[in-house]
């Protein structure tokens, strides 16, 4: 009985955090007429982080705010902005965090440098080993 009551309570519970009842922005779910621009917008939307569901891209997310961001991205690209301009417009407001494609700067350069340094280090170590074997 207790289980049944819990089940009933769960079934009839209303969501605590309701979402906006307003319709989505014009280009939240509608593609641009120009296929090239739509492809550019789509590639960028895959690399922009949703502010609400923080592990999703805005292309993936159903959050109303992600829809508003998609619409902004498409409208700005349709108006002639390049994807990188739109990306920097968002980074200016939300920080590097908003882009899944990190930019090279004073903090992030080891991401590219570290694999090279490790590779060079490995070659150098391996060379030492081979040489020693020859000496034997």
């Amino acid at each position: 009985m207790k289980h049944l009551m819990v089940l009933f309570a769960l079934l009839t519970a209303a969501p605590l955090v309701a979402q906006s009842a307003l319709p989505a922005s014009p280009y939240a779910h509608q593609q641009l007429a120009d296929p090239n621009k739509e492809a550019e917008a789509r590639a960028l939307m895959d690399e922009l982080r949703c502010l609400k569901c923080q592990s999703q891209s805005i292309a993936d997310s159903n959050a109303p705010m992600a829809g508003d961001m998609r619409s902004q991205v498409r409208e700005r690209i349709a108006a002639g902005e390049t994807p990188e301009e739109v990306r920097s417009w968002l980074i200016e407001r939300y920080g590097d965090w908003v882009s899944y494609n990190p930019q090279v700067n004073a903090l992030t350069w080891p991401l590219w440098a570290a694999p090279l340094i490790l590779l060079i280090l490995a070659v150098w170590l391996a060379r030492g080993r081979f040489r020693r074997r020859k000496d034997k």
Partner: protein, 175 residues
């Protein structure tokens, strides 16, 4: 080879392990801070959200006195929780401007009738355009703008009773 060199890989692994473990144990932080703090309020013009209050534009926020800018919505539960605190700030003399996020005039009017109206002006942002301009990622959020219209502080989430002294202090210093 030196004896102690043998321990270097294990030491490196220990460092790596410690970093990962610390990252796993740290509580999750979902707060997105706006990079607009310290910059002038971006230019915008929003239509009036309800009949009782005038519309809001960025020029209303650079008037020589420090003000607050609160982003709210009738569909947002934490906004109800922070309503008494906003009324208290208004009683303390703070000019609070509202931005209603993705909302209808009827719902906003009902919300204000029910939970109080601390706002001097309310603009309606039906497509989150101004919210994106401000670097805001949700509701409720509150910005403090100084007398020249520069954003000096962002409060993410609902304002609780214990946040009031700090917010009032920042507001007074922004004058």
């Amino acid at each position: 080879m030196n004896r102690w060199l043998l321990w270097v890989p294990l030491g490196l692994f220990a460092v790596f392990f410690a970093i990962v473990a610390a990252g796993l144990m740290r509580p999750k932080d979902n707060i997105v801070e706006s990079k607009m703090v310290g910059k002038p309020i971006p230019e915008f013009t929003l239509p009036a959200a309800v009949e009782q209050r005038p519309a809001l534009s960025s020029t209303n926020l650079a008037t020589g006195e420090p003000q607050m800018l609160n982003i709210f919505a009738s569909w947002c539960v934490p906004c109800i929780a922070e309503a008494p605190q906003l009324l208290e700030l208004e009683r303390a003399g703070v000019k609070i401007n509202g931005i209603a996020s993705r909302d209808t005039p009827q719902d906003i009017a009902n919300f204000l009738n029910r939970w109080g109206n601390p706002y001097a002006r309310i603009g309606t942002d039906v497509r989150s355009i101004v919210q994106l301009e401000l670097g805001s990622s949700g509701v409720p959020e509150t910005f403090i703008v100084d007398s020249k219209g520069v954003i000096v502080h962002q409060h993410v989430g609902d304002i609780r009773k214990e946040d009031l002294p700090e917010l009032l202090k920042i507001w007074k210093e922004a004058g």
